[in-house]
Amino acid sequence: MIDLSVHIGSLALQNPVMTASGTFGYADEFKEICDLNDIGAIITKTVTPHPRPGNPPRRIVELPYGMLNSIGLPNVGVESFIIEKMPFLQTLKTNVIINVAGTDEEGFVFCVQRLEDVSGIAGYELNFSCPNVKGGTSFSSDPGIAERVTRNVRKTTRRPIIAKLTPNVTSISEIGRACENGGADAVSAINTVVGMAIDIKTRRPRLSTGTGGYSGPAIKPIALAKVFELSRCLSIPVIAIGGIACAEDAIEFLIAGATAFQVGTVNFYEPDATMTIKKGLEYYCQKNNIQKIADLIGSIQLKEMAK
C-alpha cells in the first residue's frame, strides 16, 4: 500500500488531492459522481459576510485549452451558508476547508469569527485574489494588507489558515512571505490569471465584466513557475492550483515543491477528475517504487540548471 498522506501544518490529509474553491460547488453537486470521502480536502466556494448575487451573464467563456470566468462570488452569505450548506458538509469524513473573502479587511475576520463555533471545519482558505470583485486584488497585490488580514484572522482562530494568492503580481513570493509573517499555515497558488476575449462580430467583450479570470490547462506552466518560486522562498507548505487535469500534472507540482494540490476547472468537464487523479498518483508511485508520496515533494533535480 502506498502512503499518499501529506501534512499541511497540523492538518493531516489522507492524500494530496483537494478541490479548488468555486469549481466544486458545496460538494453535494458531486456526491453521485465522486466518492467525496476519498478526496484529501474539499474547499468550498467562497463565502462572504453578506449574500452576493454575482455578476450578470455572460459569466463564462470557453477557450481552447482553458476558460474565462467572471462569476463574481455569488453566495448566500456566511449566515445562510451555515444553515444551508454546512449540514451536508458535516456529514463528510474528509477535511472540509471553508474559503472566505471580504470586500474589506474586516470581512475576512467577520466570516471566520462567525464560523468558529461551527463544527466540521478543518480550516480556512483566505481568498486574497479573486480578480472579479471590485478591489478584490488589492488584498493580494499589497503585502502589507495581506499580512495584516492574515494576522487578524490568525488572532481569531486556531484552525489552519491557507492564504490563496493571485499570480497577477510582480512578485508572488513577496506576498507569500507577508502571509507567512502574518501567521498563515500554508499558501495556495494560483488563483486565475487576468484574461479577456472579444466577440469580433458584436465587438463586445465576451464576459459581461470585460476581463475575467483565466483557468484550466493553459495556465499550468504559469502556475508551476509560481509554485516553484514560492516553495523555494517560504518555509510554510505551498498548495498548488492551476490547470491540473491529470495525475501527471499534479506530480509536476509535487516535484516542484507543492505539498498538496487543488483540482479546478477540470471538474466541470471531467467531474470524476479527483478520483482519476488520486488513482493516477497511486499508479505512478507503484510504477516508480515510491512508498510515500511525501518523498516526491520538492524532489526536483536542479544540479544542471543553467541560470
Binding site: 468555486g22 469549481t23 449574500p51 454575482g54 468537464y269
Partner: protein, 264 residues
C-alpha cells in the same frame, strides 16, 4: 452519472441537422422530457467543455436514446461525423423537466429551429396523459424542418418559414399570435416553448397578452451542466435579497416564462 455509451446511428434528418442514437438501457427509462445530457465530444482539448443536448426521444424497447442537433461549430461538427460503434462519454440526465398541469386541455408547443429537439419525448409524455397537442414550428426555410411525419402523429402542425417556402410566411410567433387571436380556448391551453432568444421574447409577450401559462426551455452557455460552475445565470424577473439569478442547469433548463428575464 458519467456514462460510456455506444453510438447506434447518426443520420442526417434535415439541412445540417442530425439524429444521433446511442445505447443506454438505464438512461432511456429514467429521463423526462426537458432534461439534457452533457457530452464530451473529443479528447482534443481545443474543445474543452462538454456540450449540452436535450433528450430528443427514447426507445425503451431498443434501449436507445436520441439527440437531435445542428452542426454549428467544432463540437457539433465532430459529432456529426461519428458513426455506429463509436463511444460517447455522457453525463446525465441533468436539469428539471416539463410539468403538466392536470386541468390543461391542450398543449401548444412552440419551437423555433432546433428548439424542436426536446419535444418528441414530450409529446409521448403528453399523449400518455391524454392531452391534446398543437405544434407551432418555425424555421428559416422548408428544408430545415425535422421529422414532421413523426410529429404529425402526435400534434396538429402549424408550420412557418421565414422565406415562405412552406407554411406561413414569417416568424413562428406571428403565426402563433394570429392563431390565438382567432381561437377561443386560451385559458385551458398551456404553452411549451424552446427556441432562439428573439422568439422567447416574443412568446413572453404573447403569453402575457393572452394570459397563458408558458414553460420555456432556455439554452444558456454552460461549463458544467450540474451546478458546479455557477456560470449559467438566468436573471430572475423578481430578484430576492442577495439573489438575482437562477442557474439554468439546476433550476432549469425549464422555467415558467414569467419568472425569467430574457436577455441575449
Amino acid at each position: 452519472m458519467v456514462r460510456h455509451c455506444t453510438i447506434r446511428s447518426v443520420d442526417q434528418v434535415a439541412r445540417n441537422t442530425y439524429l444521433l442514437s446511442f445505447e443506454d438501457a438505464d438512461l432511456c427509462r429514467v429521463v423526462r422530457a426537458g432534461q439534457f445530457l452533457e457530452i464530451k465530444v473529443t479528447q482534443c482539448t481545443d474543445i474543452l467543455w462538454r456540450r449540452p443536448f436535450s433528450i430528443h426521444d427514447t426507445h425503451p424497447q431498443k434501449n436507445t436514446v436520441d439527440i437531435l442537433f445542428h452542426a454549428v461549430g467544432p463540437a457539433t461538427r465532430t459529432l456529426a461525423q461519428l458513426t455506429a460503434h463509436a463511444e460517447l462519454n455522457i453525463l446525465g440526465p441533468l436539469g428539471n423537466y416539463f410539468r403538466y398541469e392536470q386541468n390543461v386541455r391542450e398543449a401548444i408547443v412552440v419551437a423555433g429551429g432546433l428548439g424542436i429537439a426536446p419535444f418528441m419525448l414530450m409529446m409521448r409524455e403528453l399523449q400518455e396523459r391524454g392531452i391534446a397537442m398543437r405544434l407551432f414550428y418555425g424555421t428559416g426555410r422548408s428544408d430545415q424542418f425535422c421529422r414532421l411525419e413523426e410529429f404529425e402523429k402526435y400534434a396538429a402542425l402549424h408550420l412557418s418559414t421565414v422565406d415562405g417556402s412552406r407554411g406561413y410566411q414569417g416568424v413562428v410567433t406571428d403565426m402563433l399570435s394570429d392563431y390565438l387571436d382567432q381561437s377561443a380556448h386560451h385559458h385551458d391551453s398551456s404553452l411549451y416553448v424552446c427556441g432562439p432568444t428573439a422568439m422567447l421574447r416574443a412568446v413572453k409577450e404573447i403569453a402575457n397578452r393572452f394570459n397563458m401559462a408558458a414553460q420555456v426551455s432556455v439554452e444558456t452557455i454552460m461549463a458544467c451542466g450540474f451546478g458546479a460552475c455557477v456560470g449559467c445565470a438566468v436573471p430572475m424577473t423578481t430578484p430576492i435579497p442577495g439573489q438575482k439569478y437562477f442557474m439554468a442547469c439546476k433550476d432549469g433548463p425549464v422555467f415558467d416564462i414569467r419568472e425569467i428575464t430574457i436577455d441575449d
